[in-house]
Chain length 148, copies 2
DNA sequence: CTTTGTTGATTATCATGGTAACTATATGGA
DNA sequence: TCCATATAGTTACCATGATAATCAACAAAG
């Protein structure tokens, strides 16, 4: 994600308001502020995960699997649904996590179409290694956030 | 951008808190909520711009140029700086906007390295066509937002 | 005036998101 | 049973972000 370095001031938004009366200056101002804050936090998170051989998506897959904690694991399509990403992207990303030893897959006995994905021990370990710094990063970001 | 469909409840965050005492439950909760809201709004904006032969980046380039309103226009690197995107991406995207007739470029007289980018009439028209719906979309999103 | 370094823009390549189309398996009705 | 349809996963391809390397033009020092 990315966003404007310098957001439009309220004065500039006011001038747009005369051109487009439907707009609400406060709502637009708040929305732009939120988008920028989210953009900055996402960038920090991306960098943090990248420094730990992960990505935001790879992390989310691990955390979802840990949270569900099903011995059978989850289907690729269930993961895609929960993380809100397309199935082809999930297929590809799960494959890289299997290659890296953080996930394991098994064919389903009853249904030949289904592949079940679960965390390996290394996957659990990676999560435990990464989570403290993740929470710390969020804490610091929110503490320094000059919200309205 | 993307994000979890279902965020961890406060209870789940509490249980993580016992494992990782450094984390602040409220901060993490607020941060995750913000990230998801931003993700949902970004998706709506992306769809809106795509339906108007734009993208978020293409829109931002147009709005920055209109806001600065310099007859000479802006350099590619100045645009990249303001929109917070890499210069190669800016080069590529400016080129597509020139191809579509929304921007025009001119070499600088004094300095052969510099290329100045400015809005065409069609570029201005596109902005004016797109802005009302853009503000309306943001207004509606913020109005429906169940913030904390 | 030439060499050296800097700056603006671009090219090449990679990463990671998406959609469309395909394969294999399962399911349900004629 | 057999065919039509649906579902899970994948493959192929495209869009758009990044970084590293390259090219051309400028500037400054010897």
């Amino acid at each position: 994600m990315f966003f404007l370095k310098e957001l439009p001031s309220r004065e500039i938004l006011q001038s747009y308001q005369t051109r487009f009366p439907a707009m609400n200056v406060d709502n637009v101002h708040d929305a732009l502020h939120m988008l920028r804050q989210a953009s900055l936090l996402m960038r920090q998170l991306d960098n943090y995960f990248a420094a730990n051989d992960l990505s935001t998506l790879r992390y989310l897959i691990l955390i979802v699997l840990e949270r569900e904690d099903l011995p059978e694991g989850l289907m690729v399509s269930e993961l895609a649904e929960r993380v809100d990403v397309s199935r082809p992207v999930m297929t590809r990303t799960v494959q890289t996590l299997v290659d890296d030893g953080l996930l394991a897959t098994r064919a389903c006995d009853n249904d030949g179409r289904i592949k079940r994905v679960r965390l390996t021990v290394a996957g659990h370990d990676t999560l435990n290694r990464v989570l403290p710094g993740y929470y710390q990063l969020i804490d610091r970001f929110m503490a320094s956030d000059t919200r309205l």
